[in-house]
Amino acid sequence: MPTLHVNGKTVFFEAEPDTPLLWVLREQLGLTGTKYGCGIAQCGSCTVHVDGAPVRSCALPLAALNANQKIVTIEGLSPDGSHPVQKAWAALDVPQCGFCQSGMIMAAAALLAAKPQPTDADIDAAMSNICRCGTYNRVRAGIKQAAAAKS
């Protein structure tokens, strides 16, 4: 039986090895905070952390993962929505429809973990997630606010 380590727990489930991590999370593990947007790693709605790195889970088959890798989804980012990115997002009212925001938040959290004080160029490079409502400027401001809160 396939086994993964997700949000601090070892989980067991049924899925074929070519199933993308996204659909394991959503349909086998009930973690629907991670979204399907394109299925070809273009939009970033499905971004999760694998050993701390931001990964587009829609294009990552189960066969490429093992149970030693630590997967974190939006549900596991913080126990109570208190990650600095989530707090900054709440203070600035970043989300509009919110559908892309799980991926945005995960990408932003990974960026800040790697670069606690990112420059605008760092933000440009790391935040390639698509938002159609138009939250980009507040995403940028949110990352800066979260960085300031951490420093």
């Binding site: 629907t32 979204k35 939006i74 509009q96 799980s102 440009d124 935040m127």
Partner: protein, 723 residues
């Protein structure tokens, strides 16, 4: 103040979020059913619980535009309740039907959410307040006139006695609803008009928010669908046996005569089985249709003798013929897909007696009508539960094609809930596209460079003809002239030209059109605002000054244009290498203008540095939400200007995902400065109008930077190397 409100809200929501949210996924339909006449309902708009929590009913859909919060602010303002205790709930279309449409129109498009319902929702709050006061006065046996309200507490002024709304809610709910009620003057607002944080953010930060795609019902199956990729085509045959043994596959069902769906235990199983399903299409009458061929049709229509006149004064044709100087240009605007981040989806459960649908929709009532029709049942035996939308932009409003499909699939599995999710590819190939048009503009100028005559011939697709053909009379689609109407409170032209003719030669391709955020204002503003810019440059006049000369009789348009110009420093030097462009228009009841600052490298690379956008929507219910909508409208409008294009080849759309249909990303996003200049006396929309000035302001700035005049969108197809 903001922080204080937010903190108390958190404590409050944390205490009983399940009661506050109108839709409860764990028990589908139950919580929404509570939104019926359940006590302690004060009136249709307001419930007050014994612990003083206030639940405000909202039927317009929330798709990110902030209407949920804005409408709640308007009700709470008139109610004089404690904003930190406000929650919302969403009555269902079925409940509305059963109560004689007491909540009015559910339709959430055309930037109408606030402006069209503000009057009756404010009255709902105001009458509820009167009833609560009356109940307190009755209990105290004192005149109503001696009672005051503030933050959900009624005070009898002479004695200082106080009682909370929650304590008199039961009694208030039994009183008759007053028919006459005075509304507050907006200048006295303390809840409305404030930049309050949204009510619906918390769950969007933790993954807890349930979108239609995330719904899970007991015993639910999942479906993936493929409609004939050629518009107007049909299914000739499919080989269900070929995929019958794939994991999880339950059933392969034809949907209508043009689509096939695979139902499986998981969506991934359904989708991959569908990909493997052999399908033979009958590509139908439009198998050879192409954008290139249709462009020739549009081009011919630019000079067709037959056209429907939209706006006309003077004698433009004669004045053009006699003008000492003439200028002419042809512009083109392509098909575009809404590309909501959440693809179309619906969950349906059908039995011979009842059909229920859970779906993200911009119009619950239209979704219910589509459900009833597809279910073969009366509407009274159907129900639609609206779920959070992962974007709407018009795609989820008028045509509920995906709902009909979901119901048709569910009919094949009576009693079993089936969740249909479109793949991104299905969503791209079966959109309801921004209409394709071209426009020929001819201007006649006098010797001093004054615009004397203008003929604007729009050739192309009618949204109404595709979506509401019953509203097209004598070949006239009035929506085509959005922003170009001679007058009126919705979308009037901001210029007076002595001889003006604006007409439309309708030509409809096989591509189905839809209302796309900004609708026809988008291309009309490009056509008119860029051409006026051409005229200004051709006559060596400042583009702002040239416009202002034509705007003497249009003070609201003019004021907004001047506000944008002033905010951007028009007339003062821009940073080195940066050039400005300007545009204005009116639509959805609001006046808008923008100045764009761009630079173009010697290699032709465009950078949009800054947008200054001004808007006069009459009243501003939440300045922060207005700013967010304006910022968002530039993401949508600039995505369209830079990249937005769906092309037809061999009868099908060529762009199937975000790799072939790119959109703007964060790195390209300019600063957006929003200037709200509400002048009062009317109510305009906010979600759409500023989209329309995004493209022309940028195109005009590109000309200022390069001398290159772009007349065909999107920009990705154009070279910006200096002329």
């Amino acid at each position: 103040m903001l922080q204080e409100l937010e903190l108390s809200r958190r404590g409050f929501l944390g205490a009983g979020a399940g009661l506050v949210v109108g839709f409860h996924v764990a028990a589908p339909g139950e919580a929404q059913a509570q939104a019926a006449a359940q006590p302690p309902e004060i009136n249709a708009w307001v419930r007050v619980l014994p612990d003083d929590r206030v639940l405000i009913r909202i039927v317009r859909s929330e798709m990110g535009q902030g209407t949920l919060t804005g409408l709640a602010q308007l009700v709470a303002e008139e109610l004089d309740c404690d904003w930190s205790k406000v929650g919302t709930e969403q009555p269902t279309p079925g409940q509305s039907l059963a109560r004689n449409r007491v909540w009015g129109n559910f339709s959430t498009g055309g930037s109408r959410g606030i402006r069209e319902s503000q009057d009756y929702v404010r009255k709902g709050g105001a009458t509820a307040r009167l009833m609560l006061v009356q109940a307190a006065a009755n209990e105290w046996k004192v005149p109503v006139a001696e009672c005051r309200t503030a933050r959900g507490v009624i005070t009898h002024q002479p004695t200082g006695r106080r009682i909370s709304y929650g304590q008199v809610a039961d009694a208030a709910g039994k009183l008759p609803v007053p028919t006459e009620v005075a509304l507050k003057d907006p200048k006295d607002w303390t809840i409305a008009g404030q930049p309050l944080l949204r009510l619906d953010t918390k769950d969007k930060l933790t993954g807890a928010q349930v979108y239609g795609m995330d719904l899970k019902l007991p015993g639910m199956l999942n479906a993936a669908i493929k409609d004939c990729p050629v518009f107007g085509g049909k299914v000739r045959s499919f080989d269900a046996a070929a995929i019958a043994r794939r994991p999880g596959v339950k059933k392969v069902v034809p949907v209508g005569d043009s689509a096939v769906a695979v139902v499986a235990d998981t969506w991934w199983h359904a989708k991959t089985a569908l990909d493997a399903l052999p399908i033979v299409w009958d590509e139908g009458p439009h198998a050879n249709a192409s954008s290139a061929a249709f462009a020739a049709v549009l081009k011919a229509a630019l000079d067709a003798p037959e056209a429907v006149v939209g706006t006309s004064n003077g004698d433009a044709r004669a004045a053009l013929a006699a003008a000492p100087r003439k200028l002419e240009a042809v512009y083109a605007y392509p098909h575009q897909n809404h590309a909501t981040m959440e693809t179309m989806n619906a969950t349906a459960r059908w039995t011979p007696q009842r059909c229920e649908v859970w779906t993200p929709t911009q119009n619950g009532e239209a979704a219910l009508a589509a459900t009833a029709e597809a279910a073969g049942l009366p509407a009274a035996q159907c129900e639609v539960y609206k779920i959070n939308l992962g974007g709407g932009f018009g795609r989820r409003g008028a045509v509920h094609d995906w709902v009909r499909q979901a119901v048709a699939i569910a009919r094949e599995l009576p009693g079993t809930p089936v969740k249909l999710i479109w793949s991104r590819e299905e969503d791209m190939l079966h959109g309801r596209y921004h209409p394709v048009t071209m426009c020929k503009l001819q201007a006649g100028l006098d010797a001093q460079g004054n615009l004397q005559a203008l003929h604007m011939r729009i050739a192309g697709q009618s949204i109404l003809a595709g979506v509401f053909p019953q509203n097209v009379r004598d070949g006239r689609d009035p929506v085509v002239f959005q922003g170009l109407n001679a007058s009126g409170p919705e979308a009037s032209i901001g210029y007076s030209v002595p001889h003006l003719l604006i007409d439309h030669a309708m030509r409809n391709p096989s591509v189905p059109p839809g209302f796309w955020r900004g609708v026809n204002l988008n291309q009309n503003a490009v056509y008119l605002e860029c051409f006026l810019d051409e005229l200004a440059h051709a006559t060596k006049q400042d583009p702002l000054a040239f416009r202002l000369k034509l705007m003497g009789s249009h003070p609201k348009h003019r004021a907004v244009l001047e506000a944008a110009a002033k905010g951007a420093g028009w007339g003062t030097p821009a940073p080195a290498g940066v050039f400005r462009g300007i545009a204005q228009t009116m639509g959805f009841g609001s006046y808008v203008a923008a100045v764009a600052e761009v630079s173009v490298s010697s290699a032709g690379e465009l950078k949009i540095h800054r947008i200054v956008a001004a808007t006069d929507p009459g009243h501003v219910v939440n300045p922060q939400q207005v700013a967010m909508q304006v910022e968002g409208s530039f993401v949508y409008g600039l995505s369209a200007a830079l990249y937005g294009e769906c092309t037809l080849k061999n009868g099908r759309i060529e762009q199937s995902n975000f790799d072939s249909y790119p959109v703007m990303r964060l790195a390209q996003m300019p600063k957006v400065e929003t200037i709200a200049v509400p002048s009062g006396g009317f109510w305009g929309g906010v979600g759409e109008p500023t989209i329309a000035v995004a493209a022309p302001a940028v195109l005009n700035a590109i000309f200022a930077a390069t001398g290159v005049r772009i007349r065909e969108l999107p920009l990705k197809n154009q070279s910006l190397k200096k002329a």
